[in-house]
Amino acid sequence: MLIVQDLVKRFSGKGRARDKAALDGVSLELTQGDFFGLVGQSGAGKSTLARCVMGIQRPTSGRVLFLGREISSLPAKERPGVWQRMQMVWQDPHVYLNPHWRVGRLVAEPIRNFLNLEKKAVQARVEDMLDRVGLPPSTALAFPHQLSGGQCQRVAIARALAPGPELLICDEPVAALDLPWQHQIMELLKDLREREGLTILLITHDLGLTWHYCNCLAVMKQGRIVSRGEPTSLLRNKKEPYVRELVESTPRLAWRE
């Protein structure tokens, strides 16, 4: 479904950042229905990868193929066509949702932009979307700041689902949330994948999130993918020292089941 080939992104910066590649030849492959976890520390280039795949940033070289179509060199005008089928959820929902808009309008925005629907149908779809992420229809009347972080992230997910994408890129979707909310959002993503066959690319620094949810893992360090595979095999055999470091810094609970 999504193939990333040898993606390189250099930022022409000054001083320390000069000529440092944020992405240094990254290749990935996601199949339909994957819950793909991309794990790495901050600064590893995970977010840059997401932005390059979304086409918000232009890669220096390399290719991105989505549903068999090369999208990394698309002109800006054709981007929205891709965004209808590939959506994104960001880290902090409170800064990624326009604070002046009510939830209903926020969720309706992509529906109005991507789908040619009548007014009634838009409203119905907004309510349907809210329902799918477990929010009551009355949420449509709330402003983002009236909602908790977890509810807000649900709104962001509803908004991302609204145009009916096949791929959802989640960039640290729970890092700004309290632990119980983190769990609920992860459960929601799992549900969406199981119920609707959504493909999910989860970008996170927290290896703990991936174990119970992801079927594929890739570990990223300094713009490169240092290890990949199924979580069980990848994490159990820790040939790669960096994977071992990540595993060791991730909390394990000394509770017996």
Binding site: D92, Y96, E109, A140, A162
Partner: protein, 277 residues
């Protein structure tokens, strides 16, 4: 939060609105209420104090201050409002073009603005008035041409900051672009500070008109206008201070009204009707 918040918001909006409504009402029905012809000269009652036949006294030619104030409201308010609006619209348009048009457009537009800002501020206004002949219209045009770059520069800065907001990026990914993006996500960020500036400047524009009037370049001599009245009163500040106080208070009220209104608008823009999205 919203219950207290909206009350406070309404308060400055209502106060500002009330003051301005009062002034606008005075401007509209002033001619009917005015006790005298504002142009009539009464040489026997020059510089009379308030009270009696002339509620606010008379000026150095014996004209009724109260009547002149009421008639003047019309010119002072409408001229400064219209000019302020024109500047705002021009500033917004240029600022948005510079802020969104890409680096080359931005460079060209901003250099033009810089050139304008490098001029001593009244030269252009005076040049326009010189070319078109002194009148209220040419003064207004001159002020608009002189003033917009300040707005354009501020709006551009606001636009540049506004488009970096995370939610603007998110909105682009949800398919909004062009005018939709400007209207829904950028303008609501840019407009409140721009309106605030406009409402403050509307007050000071009254003073600019006054200055031009004083130089004989704005409203022409006998026509009553607050700024001109203020300028004329300057010479009698010790003998007849009420001459200064009356138009001064009117200008003060107008400036206060515009400020409160601007503040109220700023808050109100973030608040839509309940129960609707």
């Amino acid at each position: 939060m919203s219950a207290v918040g909206s009350l406070g918001k309404n308060r400055s909006l209502t106060a500002g609105g009330a003051i301005l409504a009062l002034l606008v009402l005075a401007a509209l029905v002033g001619p009917v209420l005015a006790p005298h012809d504002p142009l009539r000269i009464d040489p026997l009652h020059r510089l009379a104090g308030p009270g009696g036949e002339y509620p606010l006294g008379t000026d150095h030619l014996g004209r009724c201050v109260c009547s002149r104030l009421l008639f003047g409201a019309r010119i002072s308010l409408s001229a400064s409002l219209a000019v302020s609006l024109a500047i705002l619209v021009l500033g917004l348009a240029v600022g948005f073009v510079a802020g969104l048009g890409g680096p080359r457009t931005d460079l060209i537009v901003m250099r033009l603005v810089d050139i304008k800002l490098a001029f001593p501020s009244l030269i252009l206004t005076l040049a326009v008035i010189g070319a078109l002949g002194p009148s209220l219209f040419s003064a207004s045009l001159g002020i608009v041409l002189n003033w917009w770059p300040v707005y354009a520069r501020m709006v551009r800065g606001l636009v540049l900051a506004a488009k970096e907001k995370e939610y603007v990026l998110a909105a682009r990914v949800t398919g909004s672009r062009g005018l939709k993006l400007v209207r829904g996500h950028l303008l609501p960020q840019v407009l409140p500070p721009a309106l605030l500036l406009a409402s403050l400047e509307t007050g000071s524009l009254i003073l600019v008109f006054a200055g031009l009037g004083f130089l004989g370049l704005g409203v022409q001599a006998p026509t009553p206008e607050w700024g001109t009245m203020l300028s004329e009163a300057r010479n009698y500040i010790y003998t007849a201070p009420h001459l200064l106080l009356a138009p001064g208070a009117a200008i003060f009220l107008a400036v206060l009204g515009f400020n409160l209104l601007g503040e109220g608008l700023r808050e109100a823009l973030n608040l839509k009707e309940a129960g609707k999205w």
